[in-house]
Symmetry: C2
Subunit: 515 residues, 2 copies
């Protein structure tokens, strides 16, 4: 690519042409539209990994020490993209509505939260050890011979009919449950000495919402129905993380719990939220073709859920079988009153026994209109920041190639999600007046939109870089700008250029960004 | 207070008066300015704890289970205040400048990061156990009799001259070092079985920046001097957390590492950053009287630092001794090249031995201009989100009392930090046209500024609530609004009211918010 751009002659670079909406002559800018014109198929995740590292979106975490099993750090552009997604979600779910409040609860909660939520007892994977090669494997992922289907895994292991996926040995231990919550110890006591010091890193943000239900409802004088939303990190001790930022042990969630009066009709609310989220993802720029729904079968539902619909994204377009191309982007679960009851001091089971003798508060709700007290039911749309970002990067990725096989990447991110809205580029970095004018324009735009100044290359190279990171507009300051106080604005997607007066630039860009 | 407001007669509520800039008559709104006029002294932290819980800023974490030793969750208003502080910092430190990049690294990093940063060996508190009452105490906080000063603590404990601060016994164990990093275990192996699975929750965000130095510098084509900034959670296993959100085990940092060429003059850069941060805090609304500097004595400096200046805030104005009123708000440290060298594959010590045989990369920098290769030095301003929020709440807190001793709280937050910019209030909630107009105004303002609709009380009560949470403007829709398409805008600090056309409201508020 660099070779190609360098090959553009000075004549090409300084040729004059005219553009739409342009009243003055536009000087001195290459327009490579003619050269690149062949669209290329959708990328696989590896394409994104490479672009993400090269351009400062996502780096392998702890890379100087050989990494850390599928952990990733977000670079200068990645952190902006994540923040833009989080802010878009917060505006949509909290600000634009009148019935949802936001909170931010702790990552480390009282251990009793996880005891009564059911996570201590049930949030685990079944693991087996291979006695031969010492590998640790997930029992539910072992390959089962066709003739053995239906027989319980424990029996198959005892009968030596299952094999280690690493070495092929059939000498496997019986499955034991491995809890996926990360453990730690609070205070100076070691956990061995004092079990009360044991704590977990939260595996979901949802429980921080449930235990704050009464605090939020009271402080904000809320009546049902209303929701509570939260963005924050969660941690799951996955045995097999992988596929870039799709499955990591540390990840960021955007969860919302919507509290409603118990009602047989409410399973339908799941469909309403599914539709709202599909609209939201499409609005962010994800193609409808890459989204589909999956109704979770009854026997696979989590212990708290009566119904769950997953929204899947086509993360693996390169796989031959259509069925294997999809992975969960988010889930919308009907959690009933399971969680609020579980944390309530007065809730009782079918035998009339209190379900929670440790809780000091009752999370029931008194309906003034009907004079009824009840435990609200909950609809939970739970989305991941990282999975959303990966889907956005994949959907935005496009390539143009020329006849020589040289390829140029254009990241067609929605302008409101793009890490940088406008790059201000001086055509000549050795000309102090041009540099000064470009920097001044950057500073004047900055309060209204994210702008950067860049002079670390020739103009063609700078354009290519901005295309590759999804910047909707490049603003070039050239020799003529010093005289006509105008600049050239180049569109990322069309590569069309317009000459705009500096005095009108901010308004022009803001209008274009709304398109 | 409620009694007082209820005591306002209907005549008072519906009296007409005129206000500045107002061309039309303003109907029907109480102005309590006359009643409340006595300023009250600065609050202590307990005052803030109470307000914070009552109004939805901060709740005790895991409260339904009796809390969790000084952990706190941020409610609907607290999360907005925190986000506004973080966004203000990010804009100031990343967007408004051209020399700082942002990142977001993982909380759980490779254990080697903490081995080579020095945290595994040195990030600890000395603890003693009381053999009598089994309390665990910090050895450096034990009370030392005047005549014993100068004698090492170990000797004093052996001589039984120090007492347990809990039960008074002098039967204490010798101090042992307790590392303040939270430990956890990655993957299915328990730590006892496999020490390579041991991991820590980061005690500072800084190391995530150092290990990404080369990735950021390369991807963003940066030349020295430049900085890398990060906002994120850190965790320290404090033996004695406390004082609300001032010292918690889980907290949020805003750290920036500014990389410079080694130079004897650079200790002065600490002063420059101190001045910049003082300006920033003052710009956020913190009074200069509540800020002071503390030059950390040489023998108290952290192992990596050659110079550190702390900015202190007066968190304890109620304490008699002026000296005990202050606590660290943030620190600005000159970290030399300690961290980059420690993580570098080629760095050697005085004897020529490689300091880090585990690192796969060298974090030195090649200066094109001088053709020199060196390890950059670092200036680090490290601030806490939670400590900043506490200082802002304390400085914004004010009270007005009347002759009957009734008190009204006004939270004079800087408008750009206030969780809500405008509250849209219907004067009559049983009048559908008024309610509809108020809700429509909320929706029309929302894209530009954070607005809420509230009808859960009489207008006097609603005003009082908004004063207490720091909302700069209340917008009231009344009967006359239906005819003149105008609303009354009330100022939080002056309680002055203006009649504004709905069509001009957004622009009016945006201008006032910039004041």
């Amino acid at each position: 690519m660099n070779t190609l751009l360098l090959a553009l002659s000075a004549a090409q670079l300084f040729r004059f042409f005219s553009f739409r909406h342009s009243s003055s002559t536009i000087p001195a800018l290459p327009n490579n539209k003619v050269i690149f014109d062949k669209a290329v198929a959708a990328p696989n995740i590896d394409t994104i990994v490479s672009l993400a590292k090269r351009r400062g979106f996502v780096f392998p975490s702890s890379e100087v020490y050989g990494g850390l099993g599928s952990a990733w750090d977000y670079g200068p552009l990645g952190v902006e993209l994540c923040n833009n997604v989080k802010q878009a979600w917060w505006r949509w779910i909290v600000y634009d509505r009148d019935d949802i409040e936001g909170i931010d609860s702790s990552i480390i909660l009282n251990r009793l939260v996880w005891q009564y939520s059911g996570h201590e007892a049930t949030f685990h994977d079944p693991l087996v050890d291979c006695r031969e090669c010492k590998s640790r494997l997930r029992a539910d992922k072992l390959e089962i011979p066709d003739e053995a289907r239906g027989t319980p895994v424990v029996e198959l292991i005892q009968q030596k009919r299952l094999k280690c996926s690493n070495c092929g040995s059939n000498d496997l231990t019986e499955p034991r449950n491995f809890n996926m919550m990360f453990r730690t110890t609070l205070g100076a006591a070691a956990a061995e000495e004092d079990p009360s010091a044991l704590a977990y890193l939260r595996p979901e943000t949802a429980q921080g919402i449930f235990i704050n239900f009464l605090n939020v409802q009271t402080a904000m004088r809320r009546k049902i129905p209303f929701g509570i939303a939260q963005i924050g990190k969660s941690f799951r001790n996955e045995i097999t993380p992988g596929n870039f930022i799709l499955r990591t042990r540390e990840f960021e969630q955007m969860e919302m719990e919507y509290f409603v009066k118990p009602d047989a009709e409410h399973l339908k609310l799941v469909d309403e939220w599914v539709e709202q989220y599909l609209d939201w993802f499409r609005g962010l720029g994800i193609s409808n073709d890459d989204l589909k729904l999956h109704e979770v079968p009854a026997d696979e539902l989590a212990h708290y859920s009566k119904r769950t619909v997953d929204i899947l994204y086509r993360y693996f377009p390169e796989r031959a079988e259509e069925e294997r191309q999809w992975e969960e982007l988010m889930g919308i679960a009907y959690r009933t009153d399971f969680d609020l009851r579980s944390h309530s001091s007065k809730a009782v089971d079918a035998e009339g026994t209190r379900v929670n003798p440790d809780s000091t508060e009752d999370l029931s709700y008194f309906d003034e209109a009907t004079k009824q007290r009840f435990y609200p039911h909950v609809i939970e749309p739970a989305a991941g920041v990282n999975r959303t970002v990966l889907a956005l990067l994949m959907d935005a990725y496009s390539e143009k190639s020329n006849d020589k096989g040289e390829t140029r990447v254009i990241l067609k991110l929605s302008p409101r999600l793009a890490p940088i809205k406008a790059a201000i580029l001086p055509l000549a970095k050795n000309k102090p007046e041009i540099v000064g004018m470009a920097k001044a324009i950057k500073r004047s735009l900055q309060p209204q939109l994210r702008a950067v100044y860049d002079d670390t290359g020739g103009i063609g190279k700078l354009y290519a870089r901005q295309d590759e990171i999804g910047t909707p507009f490049c603003v070039t300051v050239d020799h003529q700008s010093l005289e006509d106080e105008a600049v050239t604005v180049r569109d990322r997607d069309t590569w069309e250029q317009e000459r705009i007066k500096v005095s009108e630039l901010a308004e022009y860009l803001q209008n274009r960004l709304k398109e």
